[in-house]
């Protein structure tokens, strides 16, 4: 057999492997810095935690041709106005509770998790809470005693009682409200919010 051509040689592919890997990783690192900067809480894409003081909706944007969060005027949570620090503390309690209760192994958050229970990305805006007046109360009751306030939609699937305290439940509601304001590039598509029903 004649000599191996350069393009088929071990040393050539070794160099290609090293350069391709290093190059891809470098691009990823640069993009990571940019993404983290663009998605810091308080920016355009991920809102400040004090957004929980405002009305949040999610509507189709004709110009962008996708669904976008719409931030309205004041709409206090639990009738209270939170400073940025207080709001962050409350959302943090909620976020830690969602992790401690292992929510993600039944539900999805931002579409990631398990598929045994509904997605929580826009749970704050779901029509299942009937009206915006009843919503907070319904959410708290459901979180603290899901068995008695079961929302099975005829499926027979009930959320178990996870011993969520009232403080934790308020945190979870605040977290869900804050999360619903994240610009998720139009996911989920075609979502009709609780506001649409009211208007």
């Amino acid at each position: 057999m004649s000599e191996t051509p350069k393009w088929a040689s071990e040393s050539f592919w070794k160099k290609v492997a090293v350069w391709v890997t290093a190059g891809s990783f470098l691009i990823l690192v640069v993009l990571t810095f940019d993404t983290l900067k663009q998605t810091t809480a308080g920016g355009e894409r991920v809102q400040a935690y004090s957004i929980i003081n405002k009305k949040i909706d999610y509507q189709f944007d004709e110009k962008l041709h996708k669904f976008m969060p719409v931030i309205g005027g004041e709409e206090l949570l639990f009738g209270q106005k939170f400073t940025e620090d207080e709001a962050e503390a409350l959302v943090t309690l909620g976020k830690k509770t969602t992790q401690a209760k292992n929510c993600m192994n039944c539900h999805t958050l931002l579409g990631n998790g398990a598929y045994y229970a509904p997605d929580l990305t826009k749970a704050w805006l779901d029509q299942g809470w009937l009206t915006t007046e009843l919503r907070e109360e319904q959410m708290l009751k459901f979180l603290m005693d899901p068995e008695k306030n079961a929302r099975t939609f005829g499926s027979g699937r009930k959320m178990p009682n996870l011993n969520i305290t009232e403080a934790e439940a308020r945190g979870v509601v605040a977290f869900l409200k804050w999360m619903s304001a994240i610009d998720t590039n139009g996911f989920p598509y075609n979502f009709t919010t609780i506001e649409a029903e009211v208007e």
Partner: protein, 501 residues
């Protein structure tokens, strides 16, 4: 002989005594193995036990889709599903660590530098895993504070292990890594050794990205995917490339030059597509729009290295006329090549472009892909290696044509592949239905979610998934039986395969 084997006080002594009895019964002989291989078979045994756990808890979770009240508030879906996926990640990781220890002395041409520490690391890992699983099952959840995240559960899919266990895992992995690097440094380096070492650096380093709490869920999921994606779709793929290269060389006699060149090609293609392919997880989590383009483009390229692997495996097998010294292992390697291509490649490609992913993201479609990909890419090659290991452990016995009770490995292979493929198709149908009804028509509201879940075609799909789950379980039962008995009492020595020029 290492110290750990000489000192046998209390519990450790009892455990080792039981292991001896088991070894005698199973007809395996440690004296046929080198130091690394002795440690490797320990990892393989733990892997098989966790594999059984994975399937068991998968069956429980699958049953809960059909009978929602089943084990309600005893072992809820969240618990079963967590054990199901954690056992899977762990057994595959144990398998990989085992494979590496297995080939380390042969590949480096010297004894493992810190075998003693490797053995201690193994037992520490076993103890940690046992405690974590017991806490998952008995305590399950905690209050919404840091104590829970440190001691009970971090509540992040795939990497739920509490923080203390994370730290333990990192320490054990560092011992493992030190063993690999120091052993190659003492002996000799090769292309396979170089790729393996660099890949393990990435594997260990990436785990650190998943060890921080963040309230900003966009940032949290951003880093979470660094661990999950860059493990599963990049470093693990390269690791199986290494294992495949070594296996083809060992059981088929393919030349080192060919497997090494192919390995470099695969690394270039794998990392070239997989690293930026990470972007397909950044479509909808709040991250900027440019990820739709980058993630869509690079993840669409991800099947290419998997095609290369199929070509590599099939071409070399054909070129060697399929003459090999371990038929079950060879069959599982071929199953790996195709399973990886279809499960990770085709099934991944089907829903990776953002235009379709908008509807399929977070549906059973992902579950369908997950089942075929993890099985096809990683379960198969680990099983192939179990067969390579058991052949040597029984004294390098014959595992070619005319093997006694060969029906067992063939049926295990058939049932496992058929079972997982069946589950995959069932879940795909459920995923299609969910994408149409819940996502496209009803717009992902809770009512929309449940109308899709209550639809007859979804329920039928879940029934079929359950059925194929049982088929898979039967295959696993047969596989375990086969591993416990294959080649037992075989007097012929393994065929000698002349290496290619």
């Amino acid at each position: 002989m290492s110290n750990i084997e000489m000192v046998k006080p209390g519990l450790l002594g009892t455990v080792q005594g039981k292991l001896k009895t088991f070894h005698n019964w199973a007809g395996v002989d440690d004296s046929t193995l080198n130091g690394g291989q002795k440690l490797a078979v320990k990892y393989f045994m733990a892997a098989v036990i966790l594999f059984i756990f994975q399937i068991l808890f998968g069956l429980l979770a699958a049953a809960q889709f059909l009978i929602p009240g089943f084990l309600y508030e005893i072992l809820d879906f969240s618990v079963n599903r967590m054990v199901h996926i954690n056992a899977m990640i762990l057994w595959m990781l144990f398998g990989f660590i085992g494979c590496t220890y297995w080939l380390l002395e042969d590949e480096s041409g010297t004894e493992i530098v810190g075998l003693k520490y490797g053995v201690i690391g193994y037992w520490v890992l076993m103890a940690a895993v046992t405690v974590v699983v017991l806490v998952y099952l008995l305590i399950q959840t905690g209050a919404g504070n840091d104590t829970t995240l440190w001691l009970i559960n971090e509540g992040r899919e795939y990497i739920e292990a509490p923080r203390w266990a994370d730290i333990g895992i990192v320490i054990v992995v560092l011992i493992f890594f030190a063993n690999v690097v120091l052993t190659f440094s003492k002996g000799k380096w090769s292309g396979i050794a170089g790729v393996l070492t660099l890949d393990l650096v990435a594997l260990a380093g990436l785990y650190l990205a998943g060890m921080f709490y963040m309230t900003n869920i966009t940032h949290e999921q951003f880093w979470w995917w660094w661990v999950i994606h860059l493990w599963v779709e990049a470093t693990w793929e390269v690791l199986v490339g290494v294992i495949m290269a070594w296996s083809l060389m060992t059981i088929l006699g393919v030349s080192r030059k060919i497997v090494t060149t192919w390995l470099y090609i695969e690394v270039a293609l794998m990392f070239g597509s997989g690293i930026l392919g990470l972007g397909h997880h950044y479509f909808w989590i709040g991250t900027p729009e440019y990820w739709l383009t980058i993630g869509g483009f690079f993840s669409a390229l991800e099947p290419i290295p998997l095609v290369a692997m199929v070509v590599h495996a099939v071409y070399d097998s054909g070129e060697r006329s399929f003459k090999n010294l371990n038929h079950p292992a060879m069959a599982w390697l071929i199953a790996h090549a195709f399973g990886n291509f279809f499960g990770a490649g085709v099934w991944g490609f089907m829903h990776t472009l953002p235009q379709i992913n908008l509807y399929t993201h977070g549906t059973q479609w992902s579950a369908s892909h997950g089942h075929l990909a993890f099985f096809g890419a990683y379960a198969t090659i680990n099983i192939a290696f179990f067969y390579i290991a058991i052949q040597h452990w029984r004294g390098n016995v014959w595992m070619g044509a005319g093997l006694a009770n060969a029906w067992r490995w063939k049926w295990a292979l058939g049932l496992l592949n058929f079972g997982v493929l069946g589950m995959t198709i069932a879940l795909l149908i459920a995923g299609y239905e969910q994408s149409f009804i819940e996502r496209a028509i009803e717009g992902s509201t809770w009512a929309g979610y449940f109308s899709a879940q209550n639809h007859p075609s979804f329920i039928n799909a879940m029934q079929w998934r359950m059925f194929f789950g049982w088929v898979t379980a039967a295959g696993l039962g047969l596989l375990v039986w086969d591993l416990l008995t294959i080649g037992k009492g075989e007097t012929r020595k393994a065929e000698v395969i002349a290496p290619a020029k």
